[in-house]
């Protein structure tokens, strides 16, 4: 038997998602230097050693050593007091991959105990009227998965957290989608959007957040690509990227979602996969290869797409040369570096280049543009107080720039910032940076050039 055959038929290898002991080596890398204290947003807000990365690592060590039980309520409360923003990975001298550690821990917890904490968290949200709107939105996103699994009969694991979110507590699709009152992106456009003189075709992974919450930004992204004469494939069969589920440790559901997404995009025949969300892009670039590493069929496909996934800004500035924007957009703009976009996809220069190339825009950098906004998906629901303190710092920083527009590259941050500019800010516009480019192209068309 050759070695390649062996890997095909041999026992299914495990990843750290399946066996906590595998992260030991990653834990060992941590030298407890404490550098993460200067960047971890949760630590910044709570000022407790318990909130910071190195302590989560120490607790994980104690669990592996048998000193603490993983399903001790104290332990899992601590493990869920983390935004999975990966800020701690930027200044870490020994490059500890905390993103992996936290997911491995949560996955081990789910294996052991299922997902009771999720139900608890959602119930507590329902009791908190201020959270209701955010709850609706995030609940709707989660629901869309369960919803799709009913209709399309796609095999989403019955252990999916969303199976727990029954209609009884208010998260059913019928009630949520009308409450959002918007037509999802993928229902607005055909599966293939043609462009004049198309010279290239790309696939667009919308993710749930552009699809359901910010379809207008999604439309802007499509408009920008067509303005650059690019044909866009937007397969209807794509589903959620899985990051919201991944960070909660439900690995089997993410694997199912990932395989379905890979199959779906394989069919497009495209060689570029474009995202407009750091979490989605990060999933394609890093998470799918990680969680499918032991899957002989899908691992190579995941690798294939990992190399071909681009944030829209990277695609426009590094893969093609975008048509220079000419229409004037009179705005003072600042840019928030979404955690997953900067820390996972390493995208930070490109959106700024685009923004600065738009006539009329005055660009103002805030003092800590890559400080987390405190959203962390469902973190805002489960840890409202801490999230608000983190959000407040962000808004103060934004206010100091005197910008009238906050641009972002990730829909989850848009949601959090919108809520925060309303409460502590100066009602600044919160937009996806791609919408400003689309605005410039539109103005140019309308004859409002820079000349």
């Amino acid at each position: 038997m050759t070695s390649t055959e062996k890997t095909k038929v041999g026992p299914v290898r495990k990843t750290y998602h399946d066996d906590l002991a595998i992260v030991r080596e990653e834990l060992d890398k941590c030298m407890k230097c404490g550098n993460c204290m200067s960047v971890c947003p949760v630590y910044g807000a709570e000022k407790l050693e318990t909130s910071v990365t190195r302590s989560k690592i120490a607790v994980a060590e104690a669990v592996l050593d048998g000193e603490l039980e993983l399903d001790d309520p104290e332990v899992y409360d601590m493990l869920f007091n983390c935004l999975v923003c990966k800020s701690c990975m930027t200044g870490c001298p020994t490059k500890v991959d905390f993103g992996r550690i936290i997911v491995a821990l949560r996955a081990a917890l789910v294996r052991k105990n299922g997902l009771p904490w999720l139900k608890k968290m959602i119930f507590s949200t329902m009791k908190h009227p201020k959270l209701f709107d955010a709850g609706l939105r995030i609940g709707a996103a989660m629901q869309s998965l369960a919803f799709k699994s009913d209709k399309g009969g796609k095999a989403i694991s019955p252990r999916s957290p969303f199976a727990l979110v029954g209609g009884g507590i208010g998260f059913d699709a019928e009630r949520q989608m009308p409450a959002l009152n918007i037509t999802p992106l993928r229902e607005r456009v055909p599966e293939v959007v043609n462009a004049d003189n198309a010279w290239l075709k790309v696939a667009f992974f919308t993710g749930d957040s552009l699809n359901y919450f910010y379809p207008d930004a999604g439309m802007d992204l499509i408009e920008v690509l067509t303005a650059n004469n690019i044909e866009i494939h937007i397969p209807k069969a794509q589903n959620c990227c899985g990051v919201p589920v991944l960070v909660h440790g439900d690995i089997e559901t993410v694997r199912t979602l990932a395989r379905n997404n890979i199959d779906t995009f394989d069919k497009t025949g495209c060689e570029y996969l474009i995202t407009g969300c750091g979490s989605c892009g990060g999933a394609w670039q890093h998470d799918y290869t990680d969680i499918l590493a032991a899957d002989p069929v899908y691992a190579p496909r995941a690798e294939y797409w990992a190399k071909r996934t681009y944030d829209i800004s990277t695609f426009l500035t590094r893969v093609i040369t975008l048509r220079p924007p000419k229409g004037r957009v009179e705005r003072v703009v600042t840019y928030h570096d979404s955690c997953h976009l900067k820390k996972s996809m390493k995208v930070f220069a490109e959106p700024r280049e685009i923004l600065k190339s738009i006539p009329g825009i005055t660009f103002k950098e805030m003092s800590a543009p890559d400080a987390c906004c405190g959203s962390g998906g469902s973190y805002v629901l489960s840890h409202y107080e801490t999230s608000s303190i983190i959000g407040r710092k962000k808004i103060d920083d934004i206010n100091r720039t005197k910008a009238d527009t906050v641009s972002v590259g990730c829909p989850a941050c848009m949601m959090q910032l919108l809520d925060n500019v309303h409460r502590g800010g100066a009602e600044q516009d919160v937009v996806h940076y791609i919408s400003l480019l689309a605005e410039s192209y539109r103005k140019e068309k309308d004859g409002q050039g820079s000349a």
Partner: protein
């Protein structure tokens, strides 16, 4: 476990929200940045918010004979913040206010939990700096760095923490609060208490407020790198720079092992065949003076067969600094455990010490790289090892013993800046002799007869 009644009393004194007792919280406060030291959970963590609250806690602890461990950011490298004998961790993370910046007197008054970088950010608008800059400026606290007498990269020219502490408020083990020193440059009233408590590692008193000295920020600087084919040339260059009467703000050295590791790690184009590398930065208030000093340094480097790289722009400066900034991360990436020592020798023995460290690494078959503050003789021999390999750990201990022995034989000292704590207590007698140990003990016992303040650090607890 602490008695429930004592926990309730502490909650009454500090407020429920300032007290932690859960198992998970105890693990979070069971360690600091020291390698090769077992975790030890405390019984309780209390976050005082005022000096009076600290007094109440100390009084309570003394009545019940419970140990107290002051803690800043827990980044020290000698085990100073580990609650060895259980008891109360007193965390200053919430006493983090800058009380005053007095630009006219060049002073600031801070609470102990203020982060060093936060103080620098607050004084920068006045054109001032607080110079002590340990590698942990973005995390370490003023209280912790005063208690460790931390140094840093600028020690040669600007001194260390003790040179910048002008006054203090301290809560003693008997519950009394004392204030001494202040904003005056000159002060010979009473004993020099500041210098007693700076570097006392939480064993003599609990610092609740600090008055610090500030200086005007230097306006100009020049950064250079010298690359040497032999350690002797590098050592002679260090001596030559001082002989030319230039005191650089930074004068850092890296040995061959460190250079190669950094290059493998960061790919920044370092000369991997060099035996040593010096990073030199001169700074000052006048462009002419800085220029003259830089010229002198460059001449010395050339005279000692060194190749020169200079930085003309901030970007080029960052490039030169990259090598030094990556030294510890790169070495640390080689294995799961970093034993970072800070044996220090007179500047004239730097070359001898580097050669000795390399030989010790070879002798014990260990991965050992040395970098450090050549200008002030403070070297960081760094051993990379596997904590799960007990046989190797044993060799590490032997190598460390030998490093200290050699440093002392060169007229040096056990620790230039990381402190004694638990990690180096057993070597103290080698440097101080019995009379020195006796002096340590009589100071400790007169201020803290019952060993409630950070017991097991610096002075062994008396066995009765």
């Amino acid at each position: 476990m602490l008695d429930k009644i004592i926990i309730e009393q502490l909650e009454t004194v500090a407020g429920k929200k300032n007290v932690l007792t859960s198992k998970v919280d105890m693990v979070a406060y069971s360690y600091d940045a020291t390698a090769d030291l077992p975790r030890q959970s405390p019984d309780i963590v209390v976050f005082p918010t005022s000096a009076e609250m600290v007094q109440d806690i100390v009084n309570l602890a003394r009545r019940h004979k419970i140990a107290i461990y002051p803690r800043g950011a827990g980044t020290n490298l000698s085990g100073g913040a580990v609650p060895l004998k259980k008891g109360i961790v007193l965390s200053f993370q919430k006493m983090d206010q800058i009380l005053e910046v007095d630009a006219a007197n060049l002073t600031a008054v801070v609470q102990p939990g203020v982060i060093i970088a936060a103080l620098n950010a607050a004084v920068a608008p006045h054109g001032l700096i607080y110079p002590p800059d340990p590698g942990t400026v973005a995390t370490a606290t003023m209280g912790g760095s005063a208690a460790e007498n931390s140094g840093g990269l600028r020690g040669l020219k600007y001194g260390v923490t003790k040179n910048y502490i002008m006054g203090m408020e301290v809560v003693l083990a008997n519950g009394e609060k004392v204030r001494f020193g202040g904003k005056t440059v000159k002060n010979v009233t009473a004993y020099d208490f500041s210098n007693l408590f700076v570097g006392s590692e939480g064993t003599l008193g609990i610092i609740t407020e600090l008055t610090t000295k500030l200086i005007p920020a230097p306006k100009y600087r020049r950064t250079m790198m010298g690359i040497f084919k032999t350690l002797t040339d590098a050592g002679n260059a260090v001596a030559g720079i001082i002989a030319a009467h230039v005191i650089p703000a930074t004068l850092e050295i890296m040995d061959r092992m460190t250079i190669r590791t950094v290059e493998d790690f960061a790919h920044i184009g370092l000369p991997v065949h060099a035996e040593a590398l010096l990073l030199i930065e001169v700074d000052g208030m006048s462009e002419d003076l800085v220029h003259t000093e830089a010229e002198a340094v460059m001449q010395v480097v050339k005279d000692n067969n060194g190749d020169l790289k200079t930085a003309e722009t901030d970007q080029e400066r960052d490039q030169l600094w990259l090598a030094r900034r990556n030294a510890l991360p790169a070495l640390a990436s080689l294995n799961n455990t970093v034993v970072l020592e800070d044996a220090t020798v007179p500047r004239s023995r730097i070359t001898d010490m580097l050669i000795a460290c390399e030989a010790i690494g070879k002798k014990y078959n260990l991965t050992l790289g040395t970098f450090g503050h050549a200008g002030d003789g403070n070297l960081h021999p760094t051993i990379l090892c596997d904590k799960h390999n007990l046989e190797e750990i044993e060799r590490v201990h032997q190598a460390v013993d030998e490093i200290f022995k050699v440093a002392l034989s060169f007229g040096g000292t056990l620790s230039g800046e990381h402190g004694i704590g638990v990690a180096k207590m057993k070597y103290l007698g080698d440097e101080l002799g019995q009379s020195g140990l006796n002096l340590m003990r009589s100071i400790k016992e007169s201020l803290d007869p019952e060993f409630i303040l950070n017991p097991g650090k610096m002075v062994p607890v008396r066995e009765n």
